[in-house]
Symmetry: C2
Subunit: 518 residues, 2 copies
C-alpha cells in the first residue's frame, strides 16, 4: 500500500474537522471542508482544463494567501509538481527557472503578473493564471478555474511521485531545482511532528514567504492537524503584530531578522505576542542577545530552532523548549538531529571527525530530495559517499548537539587561520546600539583575507570603529577581531528568505578577483 | 537509501547518550554504550556461533529483563527475525508455534526451560540458550554467547527485511504468525511518537510482558530517546508500586486490569505513583469508574489510551491527556487515528457506514504486517478490499473519535437485537462491591442467545442477582439487562496479555453447540 502520501494526512483531517474554521485570510474565511473542496476543484481543473498531468510542473509566483495553500495541496493530492518561485528573482533568473522546470502553467498575482508576462514566451509558459484581484496580464482567472473544476477526490499518488520542484541558490551561483517526492515530504513531516506538536486549537500565521521550505510545516502539518491558518501577504512587522493579536496566533515560523524587527518596532508591546505558545526560528544564525531578550519577555513561550535546507525537505536538527530554558552554551546550538535524521561531521576526505572538531555538516535521512532536477552530476556531488553535504561548517558536542560555525563559503581564511564570520558577528551584536552586523572576508595583501565588519547602528545611535573593535577584543581571539569596520544606515541586503546576502556584500571588494570558495 | 530501519534510531542515540545509565534490572546496571556493545556481541554470536542468518527466526520465552531488550535489538540490527513467545502457552501450542516459525534457536530462562525441553525435538529446535541464573536444561549459556561475540557494528538491514514474527490467537483459534518488517515497525514508532513524547529524562518500567506488541514503544522508542528502562520479571502489583517509587518511573504501559489491581492493593498509597508523568493503557476496555478514580487521584498525570493490535505493529488510535482532562463521553472513546493511520467503519459488504453507526473497525497504514506467516489466504481475508479488518465492532463520532463497542465475536445476538457485552459490563462495574465482571451470550431457546453476567464481588462483599439487575436496569435498555447473573470468588481467567478470556467463560455453556461466530 502507498501510505507515505499526503492523501493519508489531509483526507482524514477533512473528515474530522469538516465544519471547523480553517482559513482566515483578510476577509476570506473557509472551513476545512470548503478548503478541500476548492483543492479538489483546482486539481480537476489543472488536469482537465490546463492539461497538467501528475508529472508536469506548474509554477507559482504570488504573495502569501489561502490560494497558495490550495495550490500546494492540489500538487500533494497528485495534480502536478508545484514549482514555487522566489519573489526576489530578477526576470533573467525567472526565465531560466521556468525554462528549466518546464512549467507551462504559472499562477501569479497582480504583483508579479508583469514580470511573468515579460518572460513567459521565452520561458515556454503557455497559461498564466491570475490569482486574486487586480488588473494584470493573464490567460485565465483563478476563480474561474476553481468554479469550472469538479469537486471529485483525485486518484491517490504513489510514495515516489515527485511533488515539489523548489529552486535554491538565492545566495550562490545558478539556481538548482530540488526535486522532492511524497515520501520525502511525509517523512520530513513525521520527523518534525515528533518534536513539534500541533492540534486543532492551534492558529498558525503564514508570514514567512510560502515559496520557502521553512513554510512546509505550515503548508502540510498545520492543515492536517485541524489547526487554523492565517496569512499576511508579505512580512511586515506592524501587520505581524496586529494579526497575531487579532487572530490569537499560537505558532509561527520566523527568521531571526524578523524577530528582531518585531521587538524593535515602535508599536511593539509584550501583550501583542502573548497568544504565541510556540515560536520557531531558523534559516540563519540567531544572535544570542536577541534570544535572551525573547526568553526574558516570554518565559513560557516554547521556542524551537530548526536547522535544515530545501534539499532535506527542510529539517535536520532542532533545539526545543527544554534546551532553551536551560540556556547557557546550548543557546548557540542548532539542536540535535531529529529522529529519523543522522548528522555526521566530516573532513574534506569524508572521514568522520571527533566530537568538538569542526568539519562539514553532512546528513542522511528519508526526507532528502530525489535529485537536483536534470543535474545528475550536481546530485552525485552533493550525495558523495552516501551523505548529503550541506556546505555548512560545524561541530557536534559530546551529546549530539550541533553547533554551526559558518557557511563554508562565509568562513574567512586570514593569516592561515579560519575565522567563522558568525562568531565575530555574535561578539559584535551584543554591543549596545548595534542593529545589524555582517562580517565578511575582504582581500588583503598581508593576510590573504582580512576580517571586515559592516555595522548598521540602531536609529539615533552613533557608533565608532574603536568601540566596536574594543568590544570584540574582550570576547574573541585577536586574529578574529575585525581589521576594519564600516557603518551603513540602510538595512543590509536580504535574500528572499531574509538571509543577509553576504555574497552581495563581498562582491564590490572582490571585483576582478577570484575568492576561490565563491 | 534505506532509512526506515532501527539502525537509524538506535545508533544516533548511542552516540548521544553513550555514558548515560540506560538499564536498571535488579542489581544489573548498564549505560547506553554498554547495552549496545552487548547487542553487537549478541548479533555477532547469533550469526557466527549459532548460524542464524538475517531471514532466520529465533524464539524467546523468558520473563521481562534487559536480555529480552538485547534480543529485540539484535533482531532490529539485522541479526535475525525475533519470535517472542507468549508465556501462557501450553506445550502443544508451543510445539506448534516453534514448528511453524521454524526457529532453530530459542532463548529461554529457568522458568521456561523445562517446557521448551519437552517440545524441542518435535518442534525442530536445535539450540536452547539459557538466559540468566538457574539450573535448567540448555545447550549454551547466554553470557557465554555474549562473551564470545565480537562487538562489531552489524551491516544495516533493508526497510523491507522482516524483523518480528509474533503469534496472535491467545483468545481465538489456532495461533497465526504476524510478520512485521523494519519499515512497519519504524512507521508505527513514528506514528506513536507524534502523540507520545519521551526524552532522556524519562524512566520506563517494563512490566507488561515483553512478548506483547504493547511493549514495542518501550522496546524501540524508549532506548532511542535516551530514556532509562527498568524491569520487573512479571506483573506483580506490590513490586510495580515499589519499583515505580524506587526508580522514579515516569512512564509505563498497563492494561486496565493491572491499574485496577494497583489501586486496590493494600500497600497502595497515592505517593507511590507520584513520579509517573504519563501512563498508557489499552489492550482491553477501561472501566470509566476506574479511569475517573485515576484522574481524581492524579490530576496532572498524562493519560494515554492506545488501541491497536499485533498486526498493526501495535497502534491505530490514541486518546491523549487533553481529552482525558475534558472527560465526559470522550472517556469511553479509544481516541482518534494516529497520523499516518486511516480508520474506517465498514459494514459486512465493505461499505463505509455513516458517523455514529456501528460496523467493523477497519484500518490501513504503513505500520501493518507484511502477512500472516505462510498463510496467504488468512492474509488476503484480513486485508480484503485493501483494508485490515480488526474484528472489533465500533463507530466513529462526527469528530473522528472511535468508540469500540465490542469484539465482533463477543457481541450477543438476543431476540434479534445486538447487545455489546462491554456496554453491559460498564453498567454493572459501577455497582459498589463489583471487583470484576464479564458478560457473555449463552444459549437460549427463547432468545437465541441470552445475556449472562459473571460477577466477582470484592473481598468481604456479598452481592445478589436482584441488586445487579436493578442497577443495570437504571442504566441500559431492558433487552441488554442480564437474564442471569452468576457469582464467582476466583478471579476471571486472563490471557497472557491479561484480557479476560471470554471464549473460556462461554465454552462450558456452548459445549456441543456451534455459536456461529466463535
Amino acid at each position: 500500500m502507498k501510505e507515505l502520501v499526503y492523501h493519508r494526512q489531509l483526507l482524514p483531517s477533512l473528515e474530522r474537522f469538516h465544519d471547523r474554521e480553517m482559513i482566515i485570510d483578510g476577509d476570506y474565511r473557509s472551513t476545512h471542508g470548503e478548503h478541500v473542496e476548492r483543492v479538489f476543484r483546482l486539481a480537476h481543473a489543472l488536469k482537465h482544463d490546463l492539461g497538467v498531468e501528475r508529472a508536469d510542473r506548474f509554477a507559482v509566483m504570488t504573495l502569501n494567501g489561502h490560494q497558495y495553500l490550495e495550490q500546494y495541496h492540489a500538487a500533494f493530492l497528485g495534480a502536478g509538481i508545484i514549482n514555487p518561485l522566489n519573489l526576489r528573482l530578477a526576470p533573467v533568473e525567472l526565465e531560466y527557472i521556468l525554462f528549466d522546470s518546464g512549467a507551462r502553467v504559472v499562477f501569479v498575482d497582480a504583483w508579479f503578473a508583469n514580470v511573468i508576462d515579460q518572460v513567459k514566451t521565452a520561458a515556454g509558459v503557455e497559461t498564466v493564471v491570475l490569482v486574486g484581484e487586480g488588473d494584470a496580464p493573464h490567460d485565465v482567472k483563478y476563480e474561474d478555474l476553481i468554479a469550472a473544476g469538479a469537486a471529485t477526490v483525485p486518484d491517490e499518488p504513489e510514495e515516489d511521485d515527485p511533488v515539489i520542484l523548489m529552486y535554491t541558490g538565492g545566495t550562490t551561483g545558478l539556481p538548482k531545482g530540488v526535486l522532492l517526492d511524497q515520501r520525502a515530504e511525509m517523512l520530513n513531516l513525521y520527523h518534525a511532528l515528533m518534536q513539534w506538536h500541533f492540534d486543532e486549537t492551534d492558529v498558525y500565521l503564514h508570514q514567512t514567504p510560502m515559496f520557502h521550505a521553512a513554510s512546509m510545516g505550515g503548508v502540510l502539518g498545520i492543515p492536517a492537524a485541524g489547526s487554523t491558518s492565517t496569512f499576511i501577504p508579505l512580512f511586515n512587522p506592524e501587520q505581524v503584530l496586529d494579526v497575531i493579536a487579532r487572530d490569537g496566533v499560537t505558532t509561527t515560523v520566523m527568521v531571526p531578522t524578523m524577530i528582531g524587527m518585531l521587538l524593535q518596532h515602535p508599536s511593539f508591546s509584550p501583550e501583542k505576542l502573548a497568544s504565541l505558545r510556540t515560536l520557531t526560528y531558523g534559516a540563519s544564525p540567531m544572535p544570542v542577545a536577541l534570544l535572551e531578550q525573547l526568553l526574558a519577555l516570554y518565559p513560557d513561550l516554547g521556542l524551537y530552532q530548526g536547522y535544515g535546507m530545501t534539499e532535506s525537505s527542510a529539517l535536520l536538527t532542532s533545539l526545543g523548549p527544554r534546551e532553551h530554558r536551560e540556556g547557557g552554551p546550548l543557546l548557540r546550538s542548532a539542536g540535535r538531529a531529529l529522529r529519523g535524521v543522522t548528522v555526521s561531521i566530516q573532513d574534506e576526505e569524508g572521514n568522520v571527525v571527533a566530537p568538538g572538531e569542526t568539519g562539514e555538516v553532512c546528513a542522511r535521512g528519508g526526507m532528502y530530495m530525489r535529485e537536483y532536477w536534470n543535474k545528475p552530476e550536481a546530485t552525485a556531488e552533493a550525495f558523495r559517499g552516501g551523505w548529503y553535504h550541506t556546505g555548512d561548517a560545524g561541530y557536534l558536542d559530546d551529546h549530539g548537539y550541533l553547533f554551526l560555525v559558518d557557511r563554508v563559503k562565509d568562513m574567512i581564511v586570514t593569516g592561515g587561520e579560519n575565522v567563522y564570520s558568525v562568531e565575530v558577528e555574535n561578539a559584535i551584536a551584543t554591543y549596545p546600539g548595534v542593529a545589524q552586523v555582517a562580517v565578511i572576508g575582504i582581500p588583503s595583501e598581508q593576510w590573504g583575507e582580512a576580517v571586515h565588519a559592516i555595522v548598521v547602528p540602531a536609529e539615533g545611535t552613533t557608533l565608532t570603529e574603536d568601540e566596536i573593535v574594543a568590544h570584540a577584543k574582550e570576547r574573541i581571539a585577536g586574529y578574529k577581531v575585525p581589521k576594519s569596520v564600516e557603518f551603513r544606515t540602510d538595512p543590509l541586503p536580504l535574500s528572499g528568505a531574509m538571509k543577509i546576502l553576504k555574497r552581495d556584500l563581498r562582491a564590490p571588494y572582490w571585483e576582478g578577483q577570484d575568492r576561490g570558495v565563491g
